[in-house]
Assembly symmetry: C2
Homo-oligomer: 321 residues x 2
């Protein structure tokens, strides 16, 4: 059931012993949402924990530092920035069917939770900010850091078209509340790890251009991952690069996974819907950033993807006419 | 004489036939300031022109499109984002000594104008925004684009420590006024030309790390320049990359020039003064970004530079002790 901000505030106020779940391969928005909501609810006396199926990179120390799990039996399950139960990873089995409240901003949300607060704002942390304000909970520096990280990382530091005036207004309040935005942005937008540099070098060396240079595709094989010692975070930074190339409408990074499948990260310019494109291959996401998992060899996976991209480019050409 | 926003509004209201001067090598802030002020004052019936000593890149089309110089004799001279008369370039001779009003945000402003509105905000366009609002002039989409470009380019898209909550609040108002922020940010922060991609690939392939990976150095030879067809702008984007590498305190790009000498662009993290380092080799610049020209073969030039860098790193280590 879709619910409003007001109804969400009522549910959060009424319940206790809450467990907040984030999605796998956790990013700034799911972690920022989960921990800011946890800190806010703890500050009014609730018992709250946060759980993620995967380990959390030290890039997010500003979010997690000082957090300790408390010992209690969870009675109310919340998911944040989790569009579908599969995104819970190994936690899906235990919690996938019993999420009481989902707070999300993905248009592709599969409406799996009992209650769903969904808004197409730039980041789920923007929703958390609204909830915290409506509950009259003070925005501490810690909460401000968490919420800022969500907005900043999901908007490419206020760069992408998903940024709104509301994103900027919230950022202003967070900075006034002490958010350490300069440190956050240096970590996420101005630092390249050595493993990332190696990864980028190897991936760029194999960059392929297709369809009159309107599509750029990079492959990250297990061999490249091993040689570069690249992390998940390193890989996540590659996708936006493909779309930065002048004239490119669809940028793709194909990454080989442990089980031999290929995870595609698709980034598009306006006029091509990445979510629609990936949905045809069993995936989903946002209009400009989406993903899917492909089963087959590298060449087969690439072909499936390129066929879909060609179709999307043709559709776009026909619409333009 | 230092004046307030209110006094500036009075001067702008009282005067007519105004000429607005920008600085040489014009950037987003000086152009955004000059043209937004021009469009705003023209909208209330003033005669206003903008003048820049250098040509303006087409990257700034959103600012300049539709502008036409009017024919009148200027009676009131304004400079925007111009810290000293020398920054007027070839316009200094005619106008350097007769600037009636300077609107600026540089701490280093030499106080050369009759009246100076100075505030250490992130961008001079933030001051223009305040003036336009105080004069009750509607913020059109055009004016919003100009002001947004100034803030966005001077803050690295809200990334750097100079960003304030006021920058974000103004950005929110500009977006609501129709500023095409997504296009602006794509042009300035999310586009790599094909020549740049080629250049980066070739330069990165030869990236060398020295002194326990605290120094990164890239060489751009004539051969690389020819093969990549890279422009000056492309080369300028390489230097910051060397400093982005994790742990790097000194990043260098050595570029071979037509006369066979090598131009070094040096970028440093805090603790190493780039200007001091380059001064020893006959160059200069700012604390974090400086340059010098080296005479000798690539290997000789590199050695001269590396010797200086080693010295600077040792000095830093000794200071730390």
């Amino acid at each position: 059931m879709r619910i409003s901000l007001e109804q969400t505030v009522k549910l959060l106020s009424k319940n206790d012993k809450m467990l907040i779940l984030t999605h796998t391969h956790p990013d700034g928005d799911t972690l920022g949402s989960g921990f800011s909501l946890c800190y806010a609810l703890r500050s009014i006396g609730k018992k709250v924990n946060v759980l993620c199926a995967d380990s959390i990179s030290e890039d997010y120390d500003l979010i997690t530092e000082g957090y300790e799990a408390e010992d209690f039996e969870a009675e109310y399950i919340i998911s944040v920035d989790v569009a579908s139960p599969e995104m819970l990873g190994r936690l899906e089995e235990k919690y996938g069917g019993r999420v009481d409240l989902c707070i999300d901003h993905h248009g592709s949300n599969s409406d799996y939770a009992k209650n769903l607060l969904l808004d197409h704002c730039a980041a789920t942390t923007e929703l958390i900010f609204s909830l915290v304000k409506m509950m009259d909970i003070p925005v501490t520096k810690k909460i401000a850091d968490c919420i800022y990280i969500g907005i900043s990382t999901d908007t490419g530091c206020f760069k992408y078209a998903n940024t709104t005036s509301a994103s900027h207004r919230i950022a202003a309040e967070l900075i006034d509340a002490g958010a350490d935005y300069a440190t956050v942005n240096r970590i996420f937008f101005d630092t390249k790890t050595k493993s990332y540099i190696k990864l980028e070098k190897m991936a760029m060396a194999g960059l392929e251009m297709h369809f009159d240079d309107r599509c750029a595709i990079m492959c990250v094989t297990k061999e490249i991952l091993e040689k570069s010692k690249a992390t998940q975070e390193d890989c996540a930074k590659l996708a936006p690069i493909t779309r930065q190339i002048e004239g490119v409408l669809v940028g793709v990074v194909l990454r080989e996974q442990d089980d031999g499948t290929f995870k595609a990260s698709v980034r598009t310019q306006s006029g091509i819907n990445a979510s629609d494109l990936c949905a045809k291959l069993g995936g989903g996401g946002h209009a400009a950033a989406a993903g899917c998992t492909l089963h087959g060899s590298l060449e087969e996976s690439k072909k499936m993807l390129l066929d879909s991209i060609e179709e999307a480019l043709n559709d776009r050409d026909n619409t333009d006419k």
